[in-house]
Amino acid sequence: MVDASSSAHGDLILKNLTKSFGEFIAVDDLDLVIPEGSFFALLGPSGCGKTTTLRMVAGLEEPTSGTIFIGKSEITYEKPYKRPVNTVFQNYALFPHLSIYENIAFGLRRRGVKNVDDQVQKALDLVELTHLASRKPNQLSGGQQQRIALARAIVNRPALLLLDEPLGALDLKLRRAMQIELKWIQTEVGITFVHVTHDQEEAMTMADTIAVMNEGKIEQMGSPADLYDNPRTSFVANFLGQSNLIKGSILDASGNSAVVDIFGTKIGLPVDRNHAHDSSVLVGIRPEKIRIAPVGTQMNGNILEGGVISDASYIGVSTQYQVEMPWGQELMVFEQNDDGTPPLSKGDPVILSWSPIFTFGLAGDQDVNAGSEAHPEIE
């Protein structure tokens, strides 16, 4: 019998992992280490290979090549029932013919645990649904089913818990509440959580580390703040939140701050935030980092002049502006409505500025729009 609780521990290590379906390469030579005890998110648009990666770790899909390790033990071709890995399935996959209690006890019983009662009760307590033990799954609400699916997996104390779009079927309010609860449970039980989602907000709320996947490869990996503030590719810049990316060329990179020319204006870019390999660069700045003011206002930092507001939408906490620049590009500016000044309106000539430390530089040969269309709400 497999004893998941005391079996392989350690980091999840994927080496050169590849999965192709005929011509289509779903996961492309993936190298990844997920540290033990972390809450890790695989984030990407649908079809980026994140679910395939998860299924290979769970043993539900066989890799075309490459290896999977947990700590020192290889599990690449191990049967799913022999891995110390449990999954919270999309749409939960609760057994409709078994009671909630028996659903949770399922894994324990298969592993030959004699007295399951204690552990099942504890798992039910953890998700606060003790009173529903004798119900059948379809008598439960979506949120309750989600928690039972979690309890059913966690009760086995796996080395690794996989969550496949676990909150996708819940409404927004419930999703927010569950995000906080999942994070709390993960801290409580200390199991490594690997969470697959296309929802950037969900990933950022819960995960310690996020890997952004695109077309079978990892674009960038890091803490949520790191990914947001200092993206390395245009895909990440656009997929996580929104970015203004402006074509420019580096004139001088000798100091701590490089000098970049964008359409005749010189701006500063910290050298350690520049990821371009040559002088061709995409200058990036998040919309909420930009200050906007009527022409003639005194400003400092990086300054862009000659913009005209082409659209302004007031959304309560902030006002979102589209500003048409002299070179034809539209830039986004989000301004907090916190200083009592009336919002500017369409047609107003404006001046834009931001602190150079927020600027990031990306390789200039990338698609400016990569990742920005990949925001489907439904997968």
Binding site: V2, D3, S7, T67, K72, Y77, E78, K82, P84
Partner: protein, 297 residues
């Protein structure tokens, strides 16, 4: 700690899939063998018998590849052959007319009684097919209530009768195969999203147009399946003609049965069976092609 988890190298190759790949064939084998021996081989035997001729002694036949058996069979039983398809066509049409509103009512108008009504539609199935036919024979027969009432009301003369008429045979066929029509109809109607009908109403279609342009096209798979399931057994049936008809309402099934079991003319009966089977196949294929539904099973 399970030792199976301790593999550290890549020495454990991908699991060999041969065993898994053969499994479906093992699962299929007994059923296929059964259908092969007791369905395909007999059909082959039937084909082979159809061109044999009488040997020495009754019931013995030799293969002479006499294809004229088919011409003889058609010539001698043309009337019954046409009558079979005529009756089957009529019965199928009546069954469709009766079943469609019934299935529609159960699918959309029955509320919480839906499951109960569905059981009630299948329920007559549970009573023996022959008993039901005999019951009709007696209900409509000379001693039955219906005919006595009709005669009493002078709607029907003393000479008039209901059984032993083409009407009775078609009515019997219609009745007996009705569930085969109703169930597929119900299944396809039940799948229709009621919002589509509402959308049609929203888009300025009246109830009749909605029915004609939305409901009927969406229920076509059920109509095709139901008409096939009714037409095929009805065309080959001989019980209704036997119990409810007269010598002038004999169908092809009666002829085949008589040639097999009474006259012992195996080649003639085999030839007629094949003609029936092939004609049905051709009609079905033409029909399915026109109806544009490929999924039969």
């Amino acid at each position: 700690m399970s030792t199976a988890l301790m593999h550290t190298g890549t020495h454990e190759k991908k699991p060999v899939l041969t065993k898994k790949k053969l499994l479906p064939y093992w699962l299929l084998a007994p059923g296929i063998v059964w259908l092969f021996i007791f369905f395909l081989v007999p059909i082959y035997q039937l084909i082979s018998t159809s061109t044999q001729t009488q040997g020495y002694g009754i019931g013995t036949y030799v293969q002479t590849y006499r294809f004229a058996n088919f011409i003889d069979a058609i010539t001698s039983s043309r009337a019954q052959l046409f009558r079979s398809f005529e009756y089957a066509f009529l019965a199928t049409s009546f069954a469709l007319i009766i079943s469609y509103p019934l299935a529609y009512a159960v699918a959309f108008k029955s509320g919480r009684w839906k499951n109960t009504l569905l059981v009630l539609i299948v329920a007559p199935f549970f009573c023996s097919f022959l008993l039901r036919t005999v019951a009709w024979e007696q209900i409509l027969g000379e001693q039955g209530v219906v005919i006595k009432t009709l005669r009493f009301l002078h709607i029907m003369g003393a000479q008039g009768h209901l059984t032993a008429t083409p009407f009775a045979v078609v009515a019997g066929l219609t009745y007996n195969f009705l569930p085969f029509m109703t169930l597929p109809l119900y299944a396809s109607l039940e799948r229709i999203d009621i919002r589509m009908m509402e959308a049609s109403g929203d888009l300025y279609a009246n109830a009749f147009t909605t029915f004609r342009r939305v409901t009927v096209p969406l229920s076509m798979p059920g109509v095709v399946a139901g008409t096939l399931l009714t037409f095929i057994p009805a065309a080959g049936d001989y019980i209704n003609a036997e119990l409810l008809g007269n010598p002038g309402t004999k169908m092809i099934g009666n002829v085949i049965e008589a040639r097999y079991l009474a006259i012992v003319d195996y080649p003639g009966a085999a030839a007629l069976s094949l003609i029936l089977m092939v004609t049905i196949m051709i009609l079905v294929m033409a029909y399915v092609k026109r109806a544009g539904t490929e999924e039969l099973v």
